[in-house]
Subunit: 127 residues, 2 copies
Amino acid sequence: MTWADDVAFDERGLVTVIAQDAASRRVLMVAWANREALLETAATGQAVYYSRSRARLWRKGEESGHRQRIKELRLDCDGDVVLYVVEQAGGIACHTGRESCFFRSLDGDSWRTVDPVLKDPELIYRK
Amino acid sequence: MTWADDVAFDERGLVTVIAQDAASRRVLMVAWANREALLETAATGQAVYYSRSRARLWRKGEESGHRQRIKELRLDCDGDVVLYVVEQAGGIACHTGRESCFFRSLDGDSWRTVDPVLKDPELIYRK
């Protein structure tokens, strides 16, 4: 019996993960983790997710350099969402070059982009 | 064409919703919304979700009184998660009587409950 047994993985073996910045308290992103991703996250102190599109572990920052150092892991009351509280390298979590993926705010009848691009994605993902 | 058309509902017509407290910045809870729930949330300024277990709209606080007044709605980059930034009535979002559903923190090999019960759930849900 381990802490990972308390996590209510879905039928695909996945759990929803929210990353929140420890300093700004912004909700940065939402992704998935499987059991292996959670165990590696806890063991290494670096945020690891499961990429459904690539069907493999996704070590956040492996391409962008925008790693997430874990400050705390939290679990919700029904066990099906994990919260990663992180220090966000570069202050950028989103692939668009913004701090947070939640950069659109509802303004009347439309979503308005309200957060700046901090770094051009072409520069982030240049090989 | 309306803002709700920009939301990437899943095959069940649902989208993940995160509620965050506008003041404490705590992540309070995660639930689901359908299109109708989002539209009512935006129109009324009160958080509405879709309860899968009850298969109907869930106007947060309808039983507990712990309503959520909407301060802002945000949408993430791929459109499949909506963030409700809220004022939480009573300072309690969780059915356990705690501020947040994320009241368990990983401590070594186990989850430890680190947040206090602010109100006995039997008093919250007494008819």
